[in-house]
Every structure is written in structure tokens, then in C-alpha cells.
Amino acid sequence: MNLRVWLLLLGAVAIMSFAAMVLVVVPAALLTEVKPSPGLEPYTASEASGRGVYIREGCMYCHSQQVRDTTITTDEARGWGRPSVPGDYVYDAPHQLGTMRTGPDLMNVGARLPDRRWQLLHLYQPRAVVPWSIMPSFPYLFEVKAQAGPDDEVVTVPPAWAPESGVVVAGPEAVALVDYLLSLDHTQPLAPTEATPRAR
């Protein structure tokens, strides 16, 4: 056995353990004390399954879910809400903070665009409501039926984008996804004790 090899490998493990201690273990211990932000509720069954659709379709790769620090960005001035804090995410696993804003931030999309029919139509064909959008359309989350059933959520599609015949009806996954999107509302102000101290 070669002593140098052992020194190398043990040194490598020691450094990685130190980093994991600093950035994984200690934060995990600290973050156990985080309480949900005011007004934040656990997801309902439908919202949770909609969140699954959000994850499955990879919405995260174009949409962030975090309003950044007001002192270095203009997220808040853009109307995306107050800066996000750890308490906003206590029910999220896995997180969907995102790293891209090819599309707008969705942290508060439920407050910003609360109309179900906007959300459904926008998922069916984004360009029907936002002409310059480059978001994918998700027609496979919808059904085209000759006639809507009694419990069906019908999507009113402008003629330019409508199928030649029949009506567009939201599928169960589209309904769940919209439930989830509408639940994204972290606009309640933080209580003073929980609010971010501006400086120390």
C-alpha cells in the first residue's frame, strides 16, 4: 500500500466533508426552525398533483419561483412581489426555484393572473393571449370533444387557434396544473419579526 495514495484520498474526503458540513449539514440544522410564511397553506390534493405536472413538463427550466433581493435587483419594482424568504417554501419538495427567466417569475402568478380561463387558454395556446410568447403550447393536456360534458371545464379559444370542430375541454392534468399555478401567491406581507431586517 502506498502512503501517498492514502494521504491523497483521505485529504480529498476531508475537504468534501468540510464543504458538505458547511453547505448541507449546518444549514439543514438551522433551517428546521423556519416557520411557514403568513397565509401559506399546504398544497391541496389537486394543487399537489398540478405541481407534479409542473415538474414533469419542466416549467422550471424557463420560469423561476423566487423574487430576489430588492437591494440588488428590480424584481419587486417589476411587480413580481416582495422578496422571497425561506418560510415561503416549507411545503416544497423538491424545490422549483429555477435558474432561468425565459418566461416571467411565477412566485406570485396566482395573485397576478388569478383568472382560471386565462391560465387554461394560455396553457392550451400561449400565443392566443400573449402574441409574442415563445412558450410551448400544451395541447396534449386538453381534449377536443364534440360536446362538453356537465363537469367539463371548457376553454374558450379564439377562432384563430380553435380546432375546426368541437370544443376544447381541460384535461384533469391541465385543471390540476392551473390549481397549482393559482395557489402560487406569496403576497401576504411578513410579520415584523419575520420580516427581513434590512441591515444589521
Binding site: 433581493d69 430588492t70 437591494t71 419594482a77 393571449v129 379564439p158 441591515a199
Partner: protein
């Protein structure tokens, strides 16, 4: 370290020679392939340049300062430590809301593009059967007090605009737009694309805002029942 080599010969640039050309030298060729490799690499003994050590020392010094200046507290609070110096010097200063790069107030048209156009569309024409139009709407050209209430607290449920029924939800803008912005965007809607109604006075917004936030959006029926 091997001696400095002479200029290497230019190797052939095309593919393999014709088959048969080198018959009989296969074994030799094979061994030459390996033999021609330079020896296994070793490490020289040059010291690191002095300026690299100087740069490293500077970087470490900077790192310590930066950690102290921007490190925040050792807890779970986020968004500490990056406030500008004057704000740090006055703890408890209220958030500006617009950040360090707060721009000049936006025009009514700008606010419309950013906040309203996703539903009511770029030209205010709405989307038939889904989102009511603003251009040509009797509500937009009508009582400014009702318009201001809609923008402040939102609108939900059935409503008839231009003879067409609609049934959607409009969000409240009370916390997102100030009085001047609401007056500006409404004035814009009332004075463009052929609509010709009097401008909206920010004082009216101030007055109606003072009535306090509603728990639910307005309905058309409630608004029509107002005195």
C-alpha cells in the same frame, strides 16, 4: 527532460497508404507506434511566480473583508448584507420598494403594457368571450369612481360589456400600483383609440383607497348598486 527536438517532419495529410504498400512491416510498424511515444510526463521544479503568491494573498485578504461586510448573520435570514452603505448605517430604514434603480414614474401606456395587456391585449381589444375589451367599453368610458374601485380591488363574476357576457376574475392592484399610476393607466384607457372620456384624478384614487381593502373582488351587480 529530453533535448529540444528538431522541427518535426510534416506528417502525411491524406488517409492510409494503398494496401500492400507496407506488407511485411506490420510488426515493426506496431512497435514503432508505441516506441515513438515520448516518455511519461514528469513535473518540473520551477517555483510558482511571485506575483501569483501576491495575488493569492490579496484574494484571501479581500475574501475576509467581503465575508465580514456581506456575510449577514449566522442564521436563516435571507437578503441581509447587500444593502447600500447608507441604508446599513441607518438600521430599520423602510424598504424603498423599488430598489436602488427606481426609475422615473411610468406612463399610463407603459403600465398598461406591463400589467394589463396579458388579458385585455395590447390594443385593449380584449379576447372575445374570455376577456372583455376596454376600447369601446361602456364601463371604461363611464363613471371613473367605479373604474377606480375595479382596479383597486378587482372584479369577479358575470359582467356584460358591449352586449357580450363575460365571467372571469380580475386581480386587485391596490398593493402594486400607487394612486398616480392607477390614475395614469385609467386616463390612458379613457383617452386613446377613439375613446374620449375625462381623465381620472389621482385624488379620486386616494379617496377611494382610503375606504380600505375588500376581502373579495367587486361584482358587477355590487358596482351597479352603488349610489
Amino acid at each position: 527532460m529530453p533535448a529540444e527536438p528538431p522541427n518535426p517532419p510534416v506528417p502525411p495529410e491524406s488517409g492510409a497508404p494503398e494496401p500492400g504498400e507496407a506488407v511485411g512491416v506490420e510488426v515493426e510498424a506496431l512497435h514503432r507506434a508505441i516506441a515513438r511515444e515520448p516518455p511519461e510526463p514528469i513535473e518540473g521544479r520551477e517555483p510558482a511566480p511571485w506575483w501569483l503568491w501576491a495575488a493569492a494573498a490579496t484574494a484571501l485578504f479581500w475574501g475576509g473583508w467581503y465575508l465580514g461586510r456581506h456575510g449577514g448573520t449566522f442564521g436563516v435570514e435571507s437578503h441581509l448584507g447587500y444593502a447600500p452603505d447608507e441604508e446599513a448605517a441607518a438600521p430599520g430604514a423602510p424598504p424603498t420598494g423599488a430598489g436602488p434603480t427606481a426609475a422615473a414614474p411610468l406612463s399610463g401606456a407603459d403600465i398598461y403594457t406591463q400589467r394589463c395587456a396579458s388579458c385585455h391585449q395590447a390594443g385593449g381589444e380584449g379576447l372575445p368571450g374570455v376577456f372583455p375589451p376596454l376600447v369601446g367599453s361602456e364601463w371604461v368610458a363611464g363613471d371613473p369612481a367605479i373604474l377606480v374601485r375595479i382596479v383597486l380591488d378587482g372584479l369577479g363574476g358575470p359582467i356584460t360589456v358591449g352586449g357580450q357576457p363575460y365571467d372571469g376574475v380580475m386581480p386587485p392592484w391596490r398593493d402594486q400600483l400607487d394612486d398616480a399610476a392607477i390614475a395614469a393607466v385609467l386616463t390612458h384607457e379613457r383617452t386613446h383609440a377613439g375613446v374620449d372620456a375625462p381623465p381620472v384624478d389621482p385624488a379620486l384614487v386616494t379617496e377611494l383607497r382610503a375606504a380600505g381593502a375588500r376581502a373579495t373582488p367587486w361584482t358587477a351587480a355590487e358596482l351597479e348598486a352603488l349610489p
